[in-house]
Amino acid sequence: MRQLSRRAALALGAAGAALGFVGSGRPASAAAKEAADQIAQFTGGKAAEKGKVSIELPEIAENGNTVPLSVTVDAPMDNDNYVSDILVLADGNPNPGVATFHFSPISGKAAASTRIRLAATQNIIAVAKTSKGEFFTNQKLVKVTIGGCGG
């Protein structure tokens, strides 16, 4: 992969040490396609309805190394109908996968918070699955000033 390393070297020189994102060198659309593939795998090809899922993220993340993220699904958590899984993807990272949360009825609420890494300005996509096999989705754009993929 001679071309890639040359590109990485160029990016390093231009960005000056640690600031540049010297990653896989893949175009963003490849990650977006992979994200779409992962969603299709998660839903088994079913279309996810937009809504019910809320994503909390800062509008502008100054440091992509640690960005607070909260995902909440506005759905009942009863024994026979609850939110079982939430898939979270970042479509501009070298690998789109962020995390998959699994819930049970005794979770009480389909809500989780964590801190994530973001390489660049991109969309965060969350897809929720209920025990009845329904899917809900939402996405949010987050602007990243300094990417969090090393360099």
């Binding site: 962020v98 995390a99 949360f101 005794i106 009480g108 973001l118 993929c149």
Partner: protein, 103 residues
């Protein structure tokens, strides 16, 4: 890993309350994307699974990808099935780390 994982729970809970469970796991979460100063990729080393159980029953679990920041912070909730005090809560959390080969 000298630091101990931290777990924070409310001191007391009534039956039916939805309580917040906060955990902080000290871990580098090396993404596998970074390179050392000689240009060699630093191998990926992450926590890939986190689980929280109440008296053996699963409450919440997470599959983590490299996009989770270092020292993973996880916040989730649980509905109390009985009144409890923080030193007898019956809650177990486990984290699993597995070294994966880069694809």
């Amino acid at each position: 890993m000298a630091e101990k994982p931290r777990l924070k729970l409310p001191a007391e809970a009534k039956k039916g309350d939805v309580i917040e469970i906060k955990t902080l796991l000290p871990h580098v979460m090396e993404s596998g994307q970074r390179k050392d100063k000689d240009g060699n990729a630093i191998p990926r080393k992450i926590i890939n699974k986190f689980a929280c159980e109440f008296n053996g029953k699963p409450v919440f679990s997470v599959n983590l990808d490299p996009a989770i920041a270092a020292n993973p912070y996880m916040q989730s909730t649980q509905r109390s099935t009985r009144a409890a005090h923080s030193n007898s809560h019956g809650l177990t959390t486990t984290a699993q780390s597995r070294r994966l080969k880069k694809k």
